[in-house]
Symmetry: none
DNA sequence: CATGAATGAGGTTTCATTCAT
DNA sequence: TATGAATGAAACCTCATTCAT
């Protein structure tokens, strides 16, 4: 009786809601939000539409849940590294590398995040933008701190540097392959290195 | 009174095919490819669906045309700067800055490009990927040249650096606003600067 | 007042899928497959398009279902008569007459069958052809048996005789009228008679 | 300069109108009337739509022209054989065989004829039906003559016999293959034979 | 004679969502 | 909790025909 009830791949091991979310995440990442039908999701999850609408108010809700998970995760981790007791260049390096690793480890979620953000309903979009802004500002504060204390070059707007780094993070979904030559940590180290070098005074 | 009947953007001034393409570009950039219906495009362009399908074989074709235009433009400009007679750090800086300026100047096209690439039909997708690869390789060659000649740091994969820079270019559509504090040229100079600094040995 | 709300043929008495199939059959027979729109079918059946596509994968599927029904019916009946314990000329006469009667009794289905066969999708067409061939061969075997045993003229290809008879069956949809002078059984007897006479040695 | 003007397959050898009709006939036979678009016809004939509508009032007209040609041909030939100076059984045999041969020799036209008859506009349909009726009656008269004079069995309605034979003619398009084992003349002889044997008193 | 751009109605199909059970 | 039949709007696309040139 332990583990799964039946033998097919989509058994009842995980609670239905989680299974639906995981399936939707995979399909959204593979095909895009608009190209994925509710029917596909429930078929792949082995449930019926009624079940989906029991747990989620709409298809849009599913997308929002994916966002929520990835946003909470990244914010927590950024706070963790930014609050550490270390020189600012170390804290920035750690934070910059960590977001790369967690992005790669959750590549499906982040692909969806960056590609489908503009497909949320207006109200949810507003909410997500607010959380994104908070994240951006925390990261920017690190850069500004370094600029104030003279360890980073100050002749460049901190906002631009944030977008510079997140551009490369955003882009990971386009080119990173699990079976490529670099491990997530190696990519992270290289990208953090590039950022820190670019900020050398 | 010059041109045609009325003064707004949707009169009959431009040939129908061009008008359709321009309208589609704008709507795709604003709403995304999937969210934009053929009906919306033809209504906004002031023609009927029949006219659209007279000039374009499918909705997919419209997207492909947008891509073609931006790809040709960027490849031409990259070739121009990469072939120049100047030190490699100058050629890379110019190319890196130029792609930022032209991306901002064609922000609708490039937004579509980066967001909707994966929504092309398989055959067209293949074709676009091939052209993208050619672009990528030309850019990478510049970096490798600098690494070989010792003017750029050699302890980082050139491929990764290309994706590093194009991440920030890709990202422009997400944050750049015409009415923001920085002109396209200023953004370009800053981003090229960041790249060149990151590559200092 | 038995059954459901109203007394006309399109109430909710029959399950929706059956009602759709019956309606489609009638309309295909009257107007042809291509000339009958899905909208006409659902309007006549008193449901919406969504309902039709809930039960049938495509318009093509509807046609295929009609075929399936008539093919199964005719094959069963042919097998029944061909397997009987009687002289071959009796078995052939019975089979030949029966296919005429059942064709007339299901004239809508068979009209569609003969007129629209070539409008099936390639894969379904292949399947139908295979079943038709099986039917043809069973019928031919009867003729060949009579030819071998000397009760039928042997100087004519059995294949041709099968097509000779089925030509007249095929043709029934073109000229037979319910209110004409001959009952289905009379037509069947005459046509079987013609076939048997033509086969006299 | 003799013959054709240019080297492609659809040159100007034949007058445009004839070329259009021949092309339409082939396409209608291959794909059916409804499945063949005017665009396909003009593309295959190497002209433009304007040209087609210059010569033919509508797509329907093309179909009607195909019918007209085959109807005139068959009526002429039937009249010729029926008016001959020979015993009625000879005249019937010749007419019955001839319609088979000319049907096979114009199989495209006759396929269209039998399959698409019901797709004519009401007025043209009426006209075609009238000509068909005239043909049918001429053929029936031969049978009745033989029945009156005792050379044919009289216990069967002459109308039914006509449809019996024309069923097999109608059916030719379904099974006859140019590369099959029987020549048109052989098929014709066999089918005429079957008819005459069936009519033996 | 012939062109081909443009029309506008209609084609089949998909889909998120609801609701009686 | 969960089902799945049914909705109805909207999607992309096709086509016979017209008309200014």
């Amino acid at each position: 009786m332990a583990g799964t009830k039946d033998g097919n791949g989509n058994d009842g091991a995980k609670p239905v809601a989680q299974r639906l979310l995981a399936t939707a995440t995979r399909l959204f990442a593979e095909q895009g939000y608009d190209r994925t039908s509710v029917q596909e999701i429930v078929d792949a999850a082995g449930v019926t539409k009624g079940a989906l609408y029991h747990y989620f108010g709409s298809k849009d809700d599913l997308l929002h849940e994916v966002y929520g998970r990835v946003l909470r995760l990244q914010q927590e981790r950024l706070d963790h590294f930014a609050d550490a007791d270390a020189p600012v260049e170390q804290r920035l390096r750690d934070a910059a590398a960590d977001v790369v690793v967690t992005t790669i480890e959750n590549l499906d979620d982040t692909k969806i995040f960056f590609r489908s953000m503009h497909q949320l309903s207006p109200e949810k979009d507003k909410q997500v933008r607010a959380e994104r802004r908070r994240y951006h500002e925390r990261f920017r504060a690190l850069i500004e701190e370094g600029q104030r204390t003279g360890v980073f070059a100050a002749d460049i707007p901190a906002d631009l540097v944030v977008d510079y780094h997140f551009g490369s993070v955003h882009h990971l979904g386009t080119w990173y392959r699990e079976d490529g030559p670099l491990s997530p940590q190696q990519v992270a180290d290289h990208l953090a290195d590039l950022l820190l070098r670019a900020l050398r005074p």
